[in-house]
């Protein structure tokens, strides 16, 4: 009989190089590949075209990806469960159509039209999630059926005219409004301060509980990098972007960017820090284990499908606002595939249970940057599709390889 002995907690890797090697060995690279990818993309495009890394272009890029990124945020939630949602693009289009019809044809107030569109999205998600978890039909099939049905619904809602222009100022401002410069700075500074407080508070409480903490230096670095990125972003978007210095200044953080980032922060918080988030990862990792732990798997599934479709609706609203219209191609074409590709490129696993909400931002940035950079170079969209496809393939391969390495690392 062995006597009790202190737990052999191996010393935490004490420098970043060891930590990185360890994560690579375990197949836990997370967002690292995509961040490296983004840096490479930026270097390549900037070296070909000096207009790539300019305040105007980067701000445009952020606005361009807001709708796709919002839809992709919902897709990340679905992928975390180990499911897939092929209806997201069409749901976004349906929501845009509902909003446009309510506000332009029925002259309802903007708020009612927006809420109506989001409710339609949530109901679609409720129906799909309920169907999937009640009849054990694969989500792939249910949402594929949804893809067709919601496309039909959108065309029906739009009616004969096909395109509905939106003249409502509030709705058009959702994506196109630019915050006053002072407000941009206030939001930026407040969020950096709050983030700093959270990080240091965590450090302090772990110290108090005598748990291992990273070095204080590491904490400063984290806060420093995040704080500097946020403030640099605000500074960049506060510059006058109008090439014609004599014309009306174009400056301030676009509202679309704020809305997208707000969704990211809210859903990252929910997935990382709440009981619900923990259960989502548990269901995605091992459904049977989650069930045996007393988790109501069906409720989690239905809730996630509702949230994802509601987010798709929000993405559709952003897209319609940016376009000032809803039309027969709203939510069509590459909307769905870009949203799924963004989630996967950003580092969320297709196999369920692994990934972060932030991958929606990172992946959307990659796809957006490739599209944007190639537009600057006036390349044909054929090339754009091929390159985006190649990047997606690369991302999924990294995911699969990490998974294989994980499976070999333990036993």
């Amino acid at each position: 009989m062995m006597k009790t002995q202190p737990t052999n907690l191996a010393a935490a890797p004490n420098n970043w190089r060891e930590a990185l090697a360890e994560r690579f060995r375990q197949g836990n690279l997370g967002s690292l590949p995509v961040i490296i990818g983004l840096i490479i993309i930026a270097i390549v495009f900037q070296s070909i075209n000096k207009n790539f890394l300019t305040p105007l272009n980067l701000t445009n890029l952020m606005v361009q990806i807001a709708a796709m990124g919002t839809i992709s945020t919902g897709v990340v939630l679905i992928l975390l469960l180990g499911e897939v949602d092929l209806s997201a693009g069409q749901v976004s289009g349906l929501a845009a159509a509902v909003m446009a019809v309510l506000v332009s044809r029925h002259n309802l107030p903007a708020g009612v039209a927006i809420i109506g569109a989001i409710v339609v999205g949530a109901l679609v998600g409720l129906l799909q999630g309920w169907w999937i978890s009640s009849f054990r039909v694969p989500s792939f099939v249910v949402t594929l059926a949804g893809l067709l049905a919601w496309q039909g619904s959108r065309l029906r809602v739009l009616g004969d005219t096909g395109t509905i222009n939106i003249t409502n100022k509030f709705i058009n401002d959702i994506a196109n409004y630019k915050l006053p410069i002072w407000l941009g700075w206030v939001l930026g500074i407040v969020s950096v301060v709050v983030y700093t407080l959270i990080v240091f508070n965590e450090y302090r409480s772990r110290r108090a509980a005598e748990l291992p903490t990273g070095s204080l230096n590491g904490v400063f670095w984290r806060v420093g990098v995040v704080g500097a990125s946020v403030l640099a972003g605000v500074a960049m978007m506060s510059v006058n972007r109008n090439a014609n210095a004599a014309g009306n200044p174009i400056q301030g953080v676009p509202s679309a960017v704020i809305i997208f980032l707000t969704f990211l922060i809210i859903f990252d918080f929910i997935t990382q820090r709440t009981r619900f988030g923990r259960y989502v990862y548990a269901v995605g990792g091992n459904t049977e284990a989650a069930r045996r732990a007393g988790i109501n798997v069906k409720r989690i599934r239905i809730t996630i499908f509702m949230l994802a479709s509601a987010l798709a609706a929000c993405g559709g609203i952003l897209a319609a606002s940016r376009l000032n219209a809803a039309n027969q191609s709203s939510g069509d074409g590459d909307v769905l595939l870009n949203a799924i590709a963004a989630a996967v490129i950003g580092g969320t696993s297709l196999f369920g249970g692994r990934g972060r909400i932030w991958s929606a931002l990172l992946g959307a940035l990659v796809i957006g940057a490739i599209a944007n950079g190639m537009d600057l170079l006036a390349l044909k969209s054929s090339i754009k599709f091929i390159v985006t496809g190649a990047v997606l393939l690369l991302a999924v391969t990294i995911d699969a390889a990490s998974r294989a390495r994980r499976e070999n690392s333990g036993r």
């Binding site: 737990t7 197949g27 990792g285 284990a289 732990a293 369920g352 036993r411």
Partner: protein
């Protein structure tokens, strides 16, 4: 007579029978386990070990017979009823989430939270969970690189240890282990066996299902042999031999009274 027999069993089944269609999986089986003891449940395939364990765990409701916990007849209709009594089961598949770290797995479904008003939006109290998890694993001498490592990165023995630790974290009194060493190598089997003996020394009643008679002799205090749905023999491990137990399992050599070694 050993000291344990004088005491009351913490958990007892009396004359339990269970039938699946034409198959009589259990017929009039008595079962008892005491605190501070490891009981091994052995038998060939189809002997009724799994049915018996699942009955104890609350997954099956017996057709006849009583479930007695701490001297009182209780009604156990679901696994939840069993865990509420303090009867925890570690199945062979361990039911761990590979993608979550050790802390999250230990607390899965019973998270330590700060209430927010909405159950699902309760905030996880990670610091407290990690502190307690570290403590429990240290008490049990479970060796893992860190409590924040994902289950995917642990060895089979470490996973088994985490699953066992989870089952004893919640003031449980009886722990059922289904083939805890089946898929493990020599060193990992050693770790798990040590852990089983530490559980006993902490006063738990441990029931181990195993195919491996050699392993059973190392960890158990008593050995209960099942054969064709009946309990056919019971041995005090210290006073029996491998051959006797194997004889009882195969039916080649059945002892005529309750405790085989007394013959």
């Amino acid at each position: 007579m050993t000291a344990t027999e004088a005491a009351m069993p913490v958990l007892q089944l009396r004359q339990v029978s269970k039938r699946f269609g034409a198959v009589q999986a259990l017929s009039n089986v008595d079962f008892e386990v005491y605190s501070n003891e490891v009981v091994a449940l052995v038998g060939d395939n189809g002997a009724g070990k799994s049915t018996l364990i699942k009955t104890i765990a609350g997954a099956y409701k017996p057709d006849e017979g009583d479930y007695v916990f701490e001297g009182k007849v209780v009604s156990v209709n679901s696994p939840r009823d069993a865990t509420d009594l303090g009867v925890e089961t570690v199945y062979q598949d361990l039911a761990l989430c590979d993608n979550l770290d050790v802390v999250s797995n230990l607390y899965l479904g019973r998270e330590n939270v700060r209430r927010s008003g909405l159950k699902y939006l309760d905030l996880l109290n990670e610091t407290e969970m990690e502190r307690r998890a570290t403590e429990v694993l240290r008490d049990l001498s479970v060796k893992i690189p860190s409590v924040r490592v994902q289950i995917a990165n642990l060895s089979g023995g470490q996973r088994q240890s985490v699953a066992v630790a989870r089952s004893v974290m919640w003031n449980s009194k009886v722990v059922l282990l289904d083939e805890p060493t089946a898929a493990l190598g020599v060193e990992q089997t050693r770790q798990v066996k040590d852990l089983i003996m530490r559980l006993r020394d902490r006063g738990l009643a441990v029931v181990v299902i195993s195919h491996n008679v050699a392993d059973v002799f190392e960890v158990s205090d008593r050995i209960i042999v099942m054969r064709l749905g009946r309990r056919v023999a019971t041995f005090h491990t210290a006073r029996s031999t491998n051959e006797q137990v194997i004889g009882a399992i195969t039916g080649a050599m059945l002892p005529s009274n309750a405790y085989g070694e007394a013959e």
